[in-house]
Symmetry: C2
């Protein structure tokens, strides 16, 4: 796993991180909308009640602001001898923090969480435009993502 | 939602279903491997401990054997105002039960579970060869699936 730049750290998200800029960072990926401190705390509590399933990591810059964020959801299945699959989700690097390989370090750490959880594979869905980034992270294309939008 | 053929039913899986042929049906999708009754029961218990997250449905034929199986995993996120996404997984129709539109009914029921759970979308990954089936179920292609295999 590539080292982070001097002064950066990576750790699990917690309910006190509301003011650190996780939501602003996620806006580089997609729609976030208005989320109150209470809603944020409630979601982190939901995640923390299922620590084997939900894992969200933050990369913090030397000022303690969120430079990158990403999650892995570990799903328990019947197939592959009651195997587990890690779903990597909601990867975002803050616009001011691009070009520092933070995304690569984050993905490698999330893959490691999947390995430690006993997953037989880790998967993610992305825009074809981001495929090359994920290939550099060691993943390869295996299927198509289909959606039904409400 | 299209009706099932006469004598067929659809319901949530439970620990007593080990002998009904769920594992044989899943073998039409991928590797299943040997799973003991104890391992099966343990996984169903894990699922039942998180009924908001894990939903697995069985279609049973008139003899009470598994004709089709499929799951939806409901993930709680930060994006989309603390939105939820349903992941449809491990869809399989028994070889002897093809051509009865059981897959279509199953997918529509799983999408309904996602709607009732408040998901803003439901997604799945598949082989491009199965894309047309999912288009008939109302889904459309939106991205690529990448994997890291351990
Ligand atoms: C690897 C990665 O980060 N993939 C993300 C996915 O996790 C996220 O949930 C989705 C949001 O898109 P949406 O706003 O259209 O649901 O975008 C991308 O597919
Ligand atoms: C919609 C659907 O059923 N998609 C399945 C997925 O749920 C399953 O987990 C995977 C198993 O493949 P694997 O044996 O290569 O992991 O195959 C397909 O992508």
């Amino acid at each position: 796993i590539p080292a982070l730049p001097e002064g950066y750290q990576i750790r699990r998200i917690n309910a006190d991180d509301y003011e650190r800029g996780a939501l602003e960072t996620l806006k580089t990926l997609t729609t976030v909308g208005k989320i109150s401190k209470e809603e944020f705390t409630e979601l982190i509590n939901t995640w923390d009640k299922n620590p084997e399933i939900y894992h969200t990591l933050l990369v913090l810059n030397p000022s303690g602001k969120v430079a990158a964020i990403g999650s892995i959801i570990v799903e328990s299945k019947l197939i592959h001898k009651c195997g587990k699959v890690g779903h990597i989700e909601d990867i975002a690097v803050n616009r001011n923090e691009q070009g520092k390989k933070l995304g690569l370090t984050l993905i490698r750490r999330l893959i490691n969480i999947g390995a430690e959880a006993g997953c037989y594979k880790v998967i993610l869905d992305c825009d074809p435009a981001n495929e090359l980034f994920y290939v550099k992270c060691g993943l390869s294309r295996t299927g198509v993502e289909m959606q039904f939008r409400f």
